[in-house]
């Protein structure tokens, strides 16, 4: 039986070499594209537009623009957190000195209370 199996396998292996004619493959693809075109013409296929992230990326100048924007953001954040010595401290600029920051530093609250009485 083993010998018969081997003998038959030789035939089966030969039959597996059957190549598909290229012209048939071309006709199959042509059919496929015609079916797609028909469905598209009937409105059954809606071309997909770019997604929201793709649109945003395009608006910012592609990946190069996105990279530049990210670099600028990171640089700005770094300067804000650790400003170079030749630049004024942004916290000082916003809030001023510790003395200047006292809301009632130059005001005599006790005197105000006396006047009301």
């Amino acid at each position: 039986m083993a010998e018969t199996e081997t003998e038959l396998d030789v035939f089966f292996a030969a039959a597996r070499h059957e190549p598909m004619p290229q012209a048939l493959a071309d006709r199959m693809v042509t059919d496929a594209l015609e079916v797609q075109a028909g469905r598209a013409a009937a409105g059954a296929i809606v071309p997909r537009g770019p997604g929201i992230w793709a649109q945003l990326r395009g608006a910012l100048g592609g990946w190069a623009g996105m990279g530049g924007l990210a670099t600028a953001c990171a640089t700005g954040l770094w300067i804000g957190l650790a400003p170079p010595a030749f630049l004024p401290d942004p916290v000082q600029l916003v809030y001023g000195s510790q003395e200047d920051g006292e809301p009632f530093g130059g005001f005599d609250l006790a005197g105000l209370l006396v006047e009301e009485n």
Binding site: R16, E18, A32, R48
Partner: protein, 201 residues
């Protein structure tokens, strides 16, 4: 031999290539490249089965093209996970083969020669062509269901459970059909042993 296509039958393959089902969805969404890839994967299998079941090249081409056309038309309605795309296609091919055989009156082998494989010597090609012709003649002498089962099992190299799904029979019935078919083939080919030289492996 089928390992590349076996991997590609499902939703995705081990190598990361999209599976037949994913490609069919992409085709339905208008992806032309998906049509070309599916044709390359499934077209030869449809043609091979039709060729071995019908024994006629022109009819096999018509059947394979029609089966693929039905695949293209069915793509938008394909329900993912319902079956393998290849299983569906094999079933369509076998049904179309039955339709062809019902229409024609006589079974005949076409005289068009097999395509030449230039990598082999003339003697090897002649011997292989003789083997294919002998096998085809023996296949055509089998009952229809035996021939279908033998072609799917031993030429397409499909597993028995998939053949059972394609032919809508039990695995045991597939095993019975292929066993009987192989015995009949062996008997038919035994007489041509010397001529075909199939003891050289």
């Amino acid at each position: 031999m089928r390992s590349d296509t076996d991997a590609a039958r499902g939703g995705s393959s081990a190598a990361g290539a999209p599976g037949d089902e994913a490609l069919l969805v992409r085709f339905a969404d208008g992806d032309a490249e998906a049509a070309r890839v599916l044709t390359g994967r499934l077209g030869p299998r449809a043609y091979s089965v039709a060729m071995r079941v019908l024994g006629n090249r022109a009819e096999a081409e018509d059947v394979a093209q029609e089966a693929m056309m039905r695949l293209w038309r069915m793509a938008p309605e394909w329900q993912q996970g319902q079956a393998r795309v290849s299983t569906w296609l094999y079933r369509v091919v076998l049904n179309l083969c039955l339709d062809v055989k019902r229409r024609r009156r006589t079974v005949h082998l076409e005289a068009v020669p097999e395509p030449l494989d230039e990598s082999r010597s003339a003697a090897e090609r002649m011997q292989e062509a003789a083997r294919i012709d002998a096998l085809q003649a023996a296949l055509m002498a089998l009952p229809e269901r035996q021939r279908q089962a033998v072609v799917l099992r031993h030429i397409e190299e499909l597993p028995n459970p998939e053949i059972a799904g394609i032919m809508a029979i039990s695995v045991e019935a597939v095993e019975s059909l292929t066993a009987r078919g192989k015995r009949a083939l062996s008997r038919a080919l035994q007489e041509r042993r010397e001529e075909l030289g199939y003891s050289d492996g």
